[in-house]
């Protein structure tokens, strides 16, 4: 769902800009307010907000307004790792059911005798 090409294109476009990359790198260490994000960057707050809008549209970053402070955080990871985790679960069951097949083949005669 998240890995379709259009979504990846948006992410790559969002990350193609060095300022946005540094914002993502900063957010990968934890949530930050808009002014905290702007601090190390030589640009106006409104330019930072514009970059944030691009990041938000790409699904990489989520922002949330708490009172007068807009907090930003990395967004897709929770979904991506959930997806990973669901695939792992599926794989666990695939392996289990294969072992069940082996078990049934091995015990064919035992169970027949009972």
């Amino acid at each position: 769902m998240l890995h379709d090409t259009a979504q990846l294109d948006l992410m790559f476009q969002a990350l193609a800009d060095p300022a946005r990359r540094s914002m993502v790198e900063r957010l990968s260490r934890g949530p930050a307010s808009v002014s905290q994000l702007a601090e190390p960057l030589a640009m106006s707050l409104s330019a930072v907000v514009q970059h944030l809008n691009v990041l938000e549209a790409s699904g990489l970053v989520r922002t949330e307004k708490l009172g007068r402070v807009r907090t930003c955080q990395i967004e897709p990871k929770a979904l991506r790792s959930a997806e990973h985790w669901i695939n792992e679960r599926r794989l666990t069951w695939e392996r289990r059911l294969d072992r069940l097949g082996d078990f049934l083949a091995q015990t064919k005669d035992e169970i027949d005798e009972n």
Partner: protein
Amino acid sequence: MTERSVVHSTFVIERFYPAAPAKVYFALSNPAAKRRWFADPDSPNPSRHEMDFRIGGREINAGGPKDGPIYTYNAVYQDIVPNERIVYSYDMLFGEARISVSLATIDLRPEGKGTRLVLTEQGAFLDGHDNSASREHGTGVLLDMLGAALAAEG
């Protein structure tokens, strides 16, 4: 602080076994038989398995790597129709964190001389799977992908 999230997902797995439904059912319902295929034999720690196979009965399977947190599978049998159907709900704990709550249905249908098994799992996958280290790692991976893509284009 744990970031709260929930993702709902359903998956279906099918298998055909050249054995009668009664035999497949036996392997699913008899604790000694189930132990022989349910737990991962490659798991470095032998797992603890308890099973009370009746409606309302519980099943617990716990195990994991030697130094890592224990995975605990905690199930309650909700519906049992011998040789045909087993429905159970279960949650998974990773250490203390509840990482998912699921409803699973195993349907057994006779097919020729064998059995078609259909496992359907509907789950709510919770925030326990996530942590800031993996998030940071994931961002690194994303940036590496970008780097590779740009290099390929250049």
